[in-house]
């Protein structure tokens, strides 16, 4: 609706007493400072935050142990895996057939994460060639195998590192705990549309 566009932009300019193409001052300065904490502390913060939300954290010394822990968490359930490097290193393979079909029918989705945020117990995933959107979304259980080195402190640090997330991917999602709702009588229910279980495995030395 080109006429609507012109009408609205012109109404906005009239309202603001501005002319077309007029420059603007700098937006207000932001304080994105954060306290840099050692990795051990970050893991402790992350654990405290995600356990409060009903998620779990494991710390493992290497790839073999990460695989072991994941297998333990999966139990007898079916899986769908992303093709992130660390997931592949653990010996998990992405689905051969239709991805969406595989995600819709699997019990557990196994991914990595591009970052984790210690303050809030969050995982940050960019949609990519190796990390589809659906693996961490459709299955009832999400297991993330995450290199310890990407554990950041806070939202501030994330946006310092990734000032332009859109340049990297069509979707950056920050996942903070299991899917939940309190829409019925404010009673907390987990696993509404996304995974009701979230397990994070931090791999040391990676």
């Amino acid at each position: 609706m080109p006429e609507a566009r012109e009408a609205i932009l012109s109404a906005v300019r009239t309202a603001l007493k501005r002319s077309k193409g007029q420059g603007i001052p700098q937006p207000p300065a932001l304080d994105l400072s954060f306290i840099d904490t050692p990795v051990a502390d970050r893991i402790a913060f992350f654990r405290a935050a995600i356990e409060k939300l009903g998620g779990t954290v494991s710390e493992v010394p290497g790839i073999a142990e990460a695989r072991g822990r994941a297998v333990e968490l999966i139990g007898a359930r079916s899986t769908v895996c992303s093709s992130a490097a660390i997931v592949a290193d653990c010996g998990f393979a992405p689905p051969a057939g239709d991805l969406r079909e595989a995600c819709a029918s699997a019990d557990c989705g196994i991914t990595s994460a591009d970052y984790a945020l210690a303050d809030t117990g969050s995982l940050v995933l960019f949609s990519s060639a190796t990390e589809p959107r659906m693996v961490s979304l459709l299955p009832p259980c999400h297991i993330a195998i995450v290199p310890e080195s990407v554990l950041l402190t806070s939202l501030e640090e994330l946006f310092v590192r990734e000032a332009m997330p859109a340049e990297r991917s069509s979707a950056m999602v920050i996942i903070t705990g299991p899917s939940r709702s309190a829409d019925i009588e404010m009673i907390l229910v987990r696993g509404v549309h996304g995974p009701g279980e979230v397990h994070v495995i931090f791999v040391a030395g990676h």
Binding site: M1, A4, R5, A7, I8, L9, A11, V12, T14, A15, L16, R18, K20, Q22, I24, P25, P27, P28, L30, L32, L53, L99, R100, A104, S122, S127, S128, A129, P132, R133, M134, L137, L155, L158, F159, A163, M164, P165, A166, S169, S170, A171, I174, T176, P178, S179, R180, S181, A182, D183, I184, E185, M186, I187, V189, G191, V192, H193, G194, P195
Partner: protein, 480 residues
């Protein structure tokens, strides 16, 4: 106030079950918020509010620049920006796109803006099924109701209400446990998600420098809505813009804390579709629909422009003593509570619901908790002033003006005031048992007096007026 609203308010206040539901649920949200904005939990909270306010002010004051910047960046990535002046234009455009693409089923995540334009009904008329996927919104859609609260749409429903609605609309065994009810909804909606041709979301923020929309939620329905269907449409009011992705470090902290008392919502999606060529899933087409619907009118009003800073957290509703009594359905539009009382008349025109700015006790709780520091009570007062001016222009309040002129005259003449007071005290019914006065003699019990007394009682008139008591006291002192 139209009789329908009067009745709605009476029904709400007179329904003990509903009163408990509203009181408990808003109370829970109040407590949740308190625990995460305290100085111990977030020392910089007050500074964040100032920052949020300053960023929104900057954006709205230069909105034309940011609209064009967002449009440029979205277009550069293969998305499209569409503008709609009002609800009809917005709904028509979405319906036409559905028709062109042969889409018969559309899924929606929770969005106040699409409630505002009544998208579902418009699509239904055009033969497109639009399914709400947020649990609360889904329950209400099945029961054909408006949301009761900006962030907790089914706040007024008990699990037994939900059981009734599910049984009636979905069939199957009656289920009263919320976990099981949620699983029913998950199953039904999962099929809809995977079959839908279009996903419609709102946008908590539109990020100009990135050409992205940000959608914040807890359930995961907005993620699926924006990921599974081939087409993603985001509907956003013009005021949703922020300049930079980095501004989210401020707003994400404010929004979830103020809304539900979470440090962060479960899912924050930063979306700049369509999917890139190397990505495995995600929508192939993306449209951002910018909606005006009264916003540019409000933008022109510099004094009240900050009403557009609202990030729809709902904290003002939870803290409002009026909302907590009369509930969300007693307000005339989808936006209820204090923020609804200031934006409804400004979006829709003052003449439509001139009583709305009076639906407040001006206690100031809303301004105190607003994460972007909108001075709601001030704007309520300005709106009241504008209502009075409008009525004066229309000659509606001649009697009121006369009454106030007489009142002002009496107030400036103490002797007259005192004798009038005595007269009134003598004339007022003076029940022997000191009962409060519920009714005046029928000659006086009419018009505004009757309306005032319909919700209030007068104390019995005292034996002596304050002035008399004061004089006696002074005399006693003098004699002592």
């Amino acid at each position: 106030m139209p009789d329908a609203y009067k009745q709605q308010i009476k029904d709400t206040v007179g329904d003990p079950r509903l009163q408990i539901a509203i009181y408990n649920n808003t109370g829970r949200l109040v407590e949740n918020r308190k625990s995460v904005v305290s100085t111990e939990a977030l020392p910089g909270y007050q500074g964040l509010r100032d920052q949020g306010h300053a960023i929104k002010k900057h954006t709205l004051d230069h909105l034309d620049h940011y609209l064009e910047l967002a449009e440029k960046n979205i277009t550069a990535r293969g998305g499209k920006v569409v503008y709609a002046r009002d609800s009809a234009e917005a709904c028509e455009w979405i319906a036409q796109l559905a028709e062109k693409r042969g889409v018969k089923l559309l899924v929606k995540s929770k969005s106040m803006t699409t409630e505002e334009i009544e998208l579902n009904h418009a699509l239904e008329k055009r033969g497109v099924e639009a399914v709400e996927t947020d649990l609360g919104e889904y329950i209400l859609q099945l029961n054909d109701e408006k949301p009761y609260h900006i962030i907790a749409p089914a706040l007024h429903k008990t699990r037994f209400d939900v059981a009734d609605i599910f049984e009636r609309k979905l069939g199957g065994a009656r289920e009263v446990v919320p976990e099981k009810q949620t699983q029913i909804a998950r199953r039904v909606l999962r099929e809809k998600f995977l079959a839908a041709g279009i996903g419609v979301t709102g946008a908590n923020f539109v990020v100009a420098d990135s050409g992205a929309v940000v959608v914040v939620e807890n359930e995961g329905n907005a993620r699926i809505t924006s990921s599974a269907p081939k087409i993603h449409i985001a509907v956003a009011g013009l005021e949703k813009l922020i300049p930079r992705a980095q501004d989210l470090a401020v707003f994400l902290k404010l929004l979830a804390r103020s809304a539900t008392g979470q440090p962060l919502s479960v899912y924050t999606s930063f979306l700049s579709p369509p999917k890139r060529s190397n990505e495995q899933d995600g929508p192939e087409e993306f449209y951002l629909l910018f909606l005006d619907n009264g916003r540019t009118r409000l933008l022109a009003d510099e004094g009240k422009r900050e009403s557009l800073y609202c990030i729809r957290c709902g904290a003002c509703l939870n803290h409002c003593p009026v909302y907590r009594k009369i509930g969300g359905h007693s307000y005339p539009w989808v936006y209820s509570g204090p923020i609804g009382a200031i934006i409804t008349p400004q979006f829709m025109g003052l003449a439509k619901d001139p009583w709305l700015p009076y639906a407040s006790s001006l206690c100031g709780a809303c301004a105190e908790v607003c994460p972007v520091k909108i001075d709601i009570p001030k704007h309520l007062l300005t709106l009241r002033h504008e209502v009075t001016e409008m009525r004066t222009r229309e000659g509606q309040n001649r009697l009121e003006k006369l009454a106030f002129r007489l009142w002002s005259y009496a107030m400036r003449h103490p002797r007259l005031y005192e004798s009038l007071g005595k007269l009134a005290a003598g004339a007022a019914p003076n029940p022997a048992n000191e009962a409060w006065i519920k009714k005046l003699p029928s000659l006086l019990h009419r018009g505004p007096v009757a309306a005032w007394l319909s919700e209030r009682d007068l104390p019995p008139s005292p034996a002596k007026s304050f002035r008399e008591q004061w004089r006696e006291r002074q005399e006693r002192r003098h004699n002592a």
